[in-house]
Subunit: 220 residues, 2 copies
């Protein structure tokens, strides 16, 4: 497999959720057109995205919903469960911990860290909040592969470096700050400040639209 663009991967992730809906609706087959309509992209885009990984459809018929789901899950690496360490047990961290979607998608939080005196030692679900100093030891002991950063922005880079030192290979960052990591580590960021400010820009300039879609002309 060649180089796959991030946009393609993100769309695959979307197709997967749409396929779940289609499966729940009892449909067995779906065409690129059907999948595209519900995903807000063009049919050609759907076919192109899938073509990077193989030929999963049948000409004249479309794609088997169940088979395509399985293919995409395999492509995305969702056939295993990932072990996650959460750093930061404040507002955002606690909400993430309680967020069921997390576990449902195959990500298990197996350790929680914080440095606030009044949080260390407390229970969160069936885990105990540990001090950051224990990060490397516990992460290695529990086989953590992915780190989630939910600390204030001023600590985010330092925590990322600690995660890298502990051998983690993926980081999901919720702190509103750009992080720098070596290219052996995968980094994704969820930055609410950027989304809000980009909304603000769109509203202030009264030109929010961007792409054509299905039920409505589509934005975002």
């Amino acid at each position: 497999m060649d180089h796959i663009s991030d946009s393609t991967v993100r769309r695959l992730s979307n197709y997967l959720r749409v396929l779940d809906e289609i499966a729940s609706a009892g449909e067995d087959m779906v065409s690129s057109h059907g999948l595209a309509g519900r995903s807000g992209v063009t049919p050609a885009q759907v076919r192109k995205d899938l073509s990077y990984f193989g030929s999963f459809g049948r000409r004249g018929l479309g794609y088997s919903v169940a088979a395509l789901k399985a293919e995409i899950r395999a492509i995305l690496g969702l056939n295993k469960r990932w072990r996650v360490a959460l750093v930061g047990a404040g507002n955002i961290g606690s909400a993430l911990f309680a967020y069921k979607e997390f576990g449902r998608q195959g990500f298990d939080i197996v350790a929680v860290f914080d440095n606030a005196e009044d949080r260390v030692g407390q229970r969160l679900g069936d885990l105990t909040i540990e001090p950051i100093s224990e990060f490397a030891r516990l992460s290695q002991q529990r086989g953590v592969e992915i780190g989630v950063i939910a600390t204030p922005p001023r600590h985010a880079q330092e925590i990322a470096e600690r995660m890298i030192a502990a051998g983690l290979k993926g980081i999901l960052n919720f702190a509103p700050r750009k992080l720098f990591v070596p290219d052996t580590v995968a980094l994704r960021s969820v930055n609410m400040a950027i989304e809000l400010e980009s909304l603000s820009f769109a509203l202030a300039h009264g030109e929010p639209a961007r792409r054509a879609g299905r039920r409505f002309p589509l934005a975002e």
Copy 2:
């Protein structure tokens, strides 16, 4: 001003946070190179992004940190405060409500809605959680401009339509589902499932790197 790409707007939002840091460090002037290094982009990119909106720098000298901050804030529409309605007072919704960054960036949550029997009527900060049926009336009464969706995915599209019907012009969606809105409405989404699955893809394929950067070769 022509059409501005979403990438440019998102980078501007980043420059703003970096400029805050630089200002805190007591620097008065910054070059495109300096700003680029701390933002994880190229100097040419910084200059190009800014050039869409005007000529803010001085050749040979760079940009005034304070002036550039003010320019970018104006460009992003951050010189006013935005009135926000939050729908969904569960895990994510409550965390968003308590998230200080929200108010700090100029976004005030002025109404909270939920449909769960045990939540309606409860207090959240100095607001009372209202039933969804009151959405249009209260939003109009309180001058809401932006809606935040923090409900389970199956209700997200319906809530979006209710927001549009009530005249809101911007929506920030936290539900892991693609929404369809008319192109008169600005939509941004924060989708954790996509980020996690794209991390999973990167780890499963062992090719996480994407762009060259500063302190480390940069990912994301």
